[in-house]
């Protein structure tokens, strides 16, 4: 799991993250763990690539 102040699944700040699951089965990460912005996610047949405008590429093993 990518560690950072923001949840990669819902974008909520970890400090105030609602106490309920937000990760959906078979979804790639959608939010930058560093700034909480939506990631640019390319889903291709055998994988995915996610990157933040400001914080670069999210490692594929981050989630």
């Amino acid at each position: 799991m990518a560690e950072g102040p923001f949840c990669v699944w819902c974008g909520a700040a970890r400090a105030t993250h609602p106490d309920r699951p937000c990760r959906r089965q078979l979804d790639p990460p959608r939010f930058c763990p560093t700034c909480g912005r939506r990631l640019r996610v390319k889903v291709h047949p055998a994988g995915w690539d996610a990157s933040c405008r400001d914080h670069g590429r999210l490692p594929a093993d981050a989630c």
């Binding site: 699951p21 959906r24 939506r38 990631l39 390319k42 889903v43 291709h44 055998a46």
Partner: protein, 357 residues
């Protein structure tokens, strides 16, 4: 933290007491009649025959599935067609399809992205070919192609064909007669345009274009000689009657391929809170689609993993003869290795298919 829990929708028949299930004896009788029609007389079932089959009790769904499998083998053979898909232009779509996370009308976690570079598309096509697939579909989240998009598609298709050695399909929304002609001449093997749901239910799903516009595009695809891939999405709140209506409407557009999607509710969309189709109900409808459309390529598509879970192999013995391998447009699939192992275990060879006539 665990995954978001899923909820299954009850069989829509429970909300429709006017459609009681058949008794086991009645179910055996309608199944026998369907077997004679499809396997001995080799004719399509009537709307009334399909309606009766939709009402077999849950205990008869395995028998319904077994018949659908026999029909698939008799009409199409044992080959399974494998396809990969790629969202080459993601999000920012002006349409309001209530199930879709790529509509600009909804607050979705999916970030819009412009048309991918040629190198990205070719790389995805090569990935697909390496998985044994014979078809690769380039999908764009748009209402329909403008001239710039048409030129990009027409530029990409021969490059992908040549570099990946794979048939190229395209899904680029509503097209004009002229655009359909150019796509066909440009080497597009198959064009995807889904009806999604019955005409009578469509206004509950989309308000920015009409069902008739979709139907018209499907007809243009066929008229210009491309294979028509025309899919459905089950689990949006449609009734049994509306699913049967959809089967009749699919017959009218004469698709070569029908991808069967099950709603995987997407956060931020109007259908985010809808429950999933129950697994046994999904098997019932896969079987009914095969019995209604005995010669089509019936493809497992989005939502199968979350809907069917451990029953995914059962779909392939209930009428399915094609699948999307790997990931979908914005969501992930299960590992290609699991699907390829499933086909090997079922002794189903992989190959390219065309509609059996």
């Amino acid at each position: 933290m665990p995954d978001v829990p899923v909820a299954f929708t009850p069989n829509p028949r429970q909300a429709q007491p006017e459609r009681p299930q058949l008794s086991p004896e009645e179910a055996r009788r309608v199944l026998r009649a369907a077997e004679v029609a499809l396997l001995d007389e080799r004719r399509q079932l009537s709307a009334d025959e399909l309606s009766a089959l939709a009402d077999v009790p849950d205990s008869s769904v395995p028998a319904l599935a077994a018949l659908a499998h026999e029909v698939r083998l008799a009409w199409c053979g044992d080959t399974v067609e494998v396809e990969g898909i790629l969202s080459a232009k993601t999000g920012g779509c002006p349409e309001d399809c209530h199930f879709c996370s790529q509509s600009a009308k909804f607050e979705s976690p999916v970030q819009a992205m412009p048309f991918l570079d040629t190198a990205d598309v070719v790389a995805a096509a090569k990935e697909t070919a390496a998985l044994g697939a014979s078809e690769f579909c380039i999908v764009l989240a748009i209402r329909g192609p403008d001239e710039r998009t048409m030129q990009r598609i027409l530029e990409l298709v021969p490059i992908v064909q040549e570099e990946a050695g794979i048939n190229v399909a395209v899904s680029a929304g509503i097209v004009t007669d002229e655009q359909a002609r150019r796509l066909a001449e440009g080497g597009v093997h198959r064009y995807n345009h889904n009806l999604e749901t019955a005409e009578s239910f469509f206004p509950n799903v989309v308000t920015t274009h009409s069902w008739a516009e979709r139907f018209d595009t499907c007809q243009l695809v066929r008229r210009h000689g491309m294979e028509l891939c025309c899919g459905v999405l089950l689990g949006m709140g449609e009734t049994v009657e509306q699913r049967l209506e959809l089967l009749g409407q699919l017959r009218a557009v004469e698709p070569d391929e029908v991808p069967v999607n099950f709603l995987n509710p997407r956060p931020g969309t109007p259908f985010a809170g809808r429950p999933l189709v129950e697994p046994l109900e999904a098997i019932r409808w896969i079987a009914l689609f095969r019995l209604a459309l005995p010669s089509v390529i019936l493809r497992y598509a989005g939502g199968r993993e979350v809907t069917l879970r451990e029953l995914q192999a059962l779909g392939l013995t209930s009428g399915i003869n094609a699948l999307i391998v790997g990931n979908y447009l914005t969501t992930l699939g299960r590992s290609p290795d699991e699907d390829l192992q499933m086909l090997e275990d079922l002794h189903m060879p992989i190959g390219a298919l065309s509609k059996a006539f």
